[in-house]
């Protein structure tokens, strides 16, 4: 059996891809069909995956179709307001039940033989009821669409096939304290600014996955053009030391990560020198996505400890293991003011050499409508398909994957040997692993350790 051989293969070989002592990962891991199949089983069928936001389906019956790994799922809202995630595969003959990306339906009826399902995935029946076309071996209760476990967090829809695994809270661990500062900070919460961008990148999903775990170092070179035209702030003589995200505080836990940029650095880039206390600065210069009218809500929803972090060094970029990338960044708006862009990506594998890169833009619901429109334009300008920052990333990942195809190339390693080490400042919360200084490989290596742990976990 192939599955058995894969299990044996896994037990022996996964550790060979990852040299824990020397902090190296074999390039071969970016081009291995068997490893890829195991990743689908052990990571994408086990992890909590972010697959959308509840504001995409505000009304009863609204649905969107998304990917969990290579599996299509339907995210739908039922009459009681709950969000359900069901496999988009008819239990009868495996036809896709939903054929459009989004819509509204009280009944999802398969176009092949007409089996019908409710938005929660439960089976209503097959046509010609008296003929009982679902047979009498299985009950109707057994013939619903396969259901994923769902948890909403800050309106984000998380789902997993691991019904007995950790809760989302356990999965996020200490990092939830920091993620709350991005996703759970206002009364009404976030909303999407439209249906996501989707594109295919000819690269292994892990190239983008590991980068999302706080690779700040690449900013200097890969995004050098954006620094050179002044779009990241700073002056010609200071740009490389003051370039955003070079010095800061990296956070890591369970493979999740966030990068906090000192607020005084961001303030200096935006406004020049100024002598403000952290509290005054938080007032004058709220974290990305918080407009002045939302500041009282931020203060109400955050604990004193969280407000301290936000005033000192708010989290702005990072990731969530295994496949989510976060950019909640300051960005110039088209009216000339400094605003922000709130961006999430999901990285969904489509074979060893391809992934689908999905990009969501957000604003706090309480943001003025005209600002939302400008935030959407700013996000589109900097990130995603045509983003002047991220178009360079999408160019890099295919090259790494290509390198793994050579018999010699694949014997090379990805190296994570620039180490800062845990060094939590005295006034920083004692939560997650904390690395202060010039961002190094610590958090990215933690991503690989989380990968290793999940890939070698006994089923």
């Amino acid at each position: 059996m192939r599955l058995n051989s894969r299990n044996e293969y896994a037990n022996e070989a996964i550790s060979q891809f990852i040299d824990i002592e020397n902090r190296e990962v074999s390039v071969a891991a970016l081009n291995d069909a068997d490893l890829y199949e195991l990743e689908l089983e052990r990571i994408f069928a086990k992890a909590w995956l972010m697959i959308g936001h509840e504001t995409e389906i505000p009304n009863v019956g609204d649905y969107v179709v998304r990917l969990m790994g290579e599996d299509q799922v339907i995210i739908a809202r039922t009459a009681d307001g709950q969000v359900h995630v069901s496999l988009n595969v008819c239990p009868h003959r495996a036809m896709h039940v939903c054929l459009s990306d989004s819509g509204n339906a009280r009944v999802h009826k398969c176009i092949y033989h007409g089996w019908a399902f409710r938005p929660d995935g439960s089976f209503i029946g097959a046509p010609i009821e008296r003929e009982q076309m679902h047979g009498n071996i299985k009950t109707k209760e057994q013939l619903g669409l396969k259901k994923a476990r769902v948890q909403l967090y800050g309106g984000l829809v998380f789902a997993t096939w691991n019904h007995d695994g950790p809760s989302l809270d356990e999965w996020l661990g200490d990092m939830k304290f920091y993620y709350d500062m991005l996703f759970c900070r206002t009364d009404k919460g976030l909303e999407v600014l439209g249906p996501p961008q989707r594109l295919t990148i000819d690269a292994n999903w892990k190239t983008a996955g590991e980068q999302s775990a706080c690779d700040g170092f690449h900013t200097l070179t890969l995004h050098g053009s954006v620094i050179d035209i002044g779009a990241m702030g700073g002056e010609a003589d200071t740009e490389h030391e003051s370039a955003p995200a070079m010095y800061g505080i990296n956070l890591s836990g369970n493979g999740h990560s966030l990068r906090c940029i000192a607020a005084d650095t961001s303030w200096a880039l935006a406004h020049g020198k100024g002598d403000l206390t952290p509290e005054e600065r938080l007032e004058a210069f709220p974290p990305p996505g918080i407009t002045p009218e939302l500041l009282p809500e931020l203060k109400r929803n955050m604990s004193a400890e969280q407000l301290h972090v936000l005033a000192k060094a708010p989290p702005v970029v990072g990731g969530m293991f295994p496949n989510m990338n976060i950019l909640f960044i300051y960005s110039p708006l088209r009216d000339g003011t400094l605003g922000s862009a709130l961006v999430l990506h999901s990285i969904m594998p489509k074979g060893p050499h391809h992934f689908e890169w999905t990009t969501y833009y957000f604003a706090e619901k309480g943001t003025p409508e005209n600002v939302k429109v400008m935030m959407r334009a700013a996000a589109t300008h900097g990130t995603g398909t045509s983003g002047i920052i991220e178009q360079d990333d999408s160019d890099t990942w295919p090259h790494m994957t290509e390198s793994a195809k050579g018999v010699i190339g694949r014997t090379e390693t990805l190296k994570y040997q620039a180490i800062l080490g845990e060094n939590r400042p005295d006034d920083w919360p004692n939560k997650a692993k904390v690395y202060e200084g010039f961002g190094k490989d610590d958090a990215q290596w933690e991503w690989w350790l989380a990968y290793h742990k999940l890939m070698t976990a006994q089923a």
Partner: protein, 188 residues
């Protein structure tokens, strides 16, 4: 209003008046403009192309969504792959032509833009025209033997000025829901 999918009229059919006859002087000069800008972009004369943009430019490529036939009027989202105005386009152009490290197009793709099926309408504004055209684009990079391809319908607003036609609006309606190329580091 649902923020997710809006009924967005990217084609601006409401602004179309009499159709300008195929082969007429105006039609030919607009055809010439479309060919010229494609040629400038294909030859990476991005600066000269930028001079064809009007300062009130709106340049968008909304994301496309697969919908049931009954919901064809909701095929395009409020989010786009481009969502630009004149200033933001100038930032893109400045990055591409003044820096030596805009890596997504260095080494550059080899791109050809094929423009066809051009229809021109008069509008309520003298010397302004609504123009619909088809775009077929091939993009080849490095040693790839295959091309990344793209097809789209473009709905433009062109304005005749003393310096010739300027592009005042372009809505690019892509045929792909999931793009096959990794970025739009190129203009459409």
């Amino acid at each position: 209003m649902s923020v997710t999918v809006a009924t967005v009229t990217y084609t601006r059919e409401d602004q179309r008046r009499d159709e300008v006859p195929y082969g007429s002087t105006v039609y030919n000069s607009i055809m010439g403009f479309l060919i010229r800008e494609a040629r400038l972009l294909d030859h990476r004369d991005i600066k000269a192309w930028g001079e064809l943009l009007a300062e009130d430019l709106e340049y968008k490529a909304p994301v496309r969504i697969t919908r049931r036939v009954q919901q064809f009027d909701q095929e395009f989202g409020t989010m786009g792959h481009f969502d630009d105005d004149y200033n933001s386009m100038m930032v893109r152009i400045t990055r591409l032509i003044t820096t030596t490290n805009a890596w997504s197009e260095d080494p550059a793709s080899r791109v050809r833009r094929f423009i066809s099926n051009v229809t021109v309408w008069e509008t309520d504004v003298p010397d302004e025209y609504e123009v619909s055209s088809y775009l077929f684009l091939t993009r080849n990079r490095a040693e790839a033997k295959d091309y990344k391809q793209l097809s789209a319908e473009r709905n433009d607003r062109l304005r005749m000025t003393k310096d010739g036609f300027k592009l005042a609006r372009r809505s690019i309606l892509l045929d792909q829901v999931v793009l096959g190329m990794p970025n739009f580091a190129i203009f459409l």
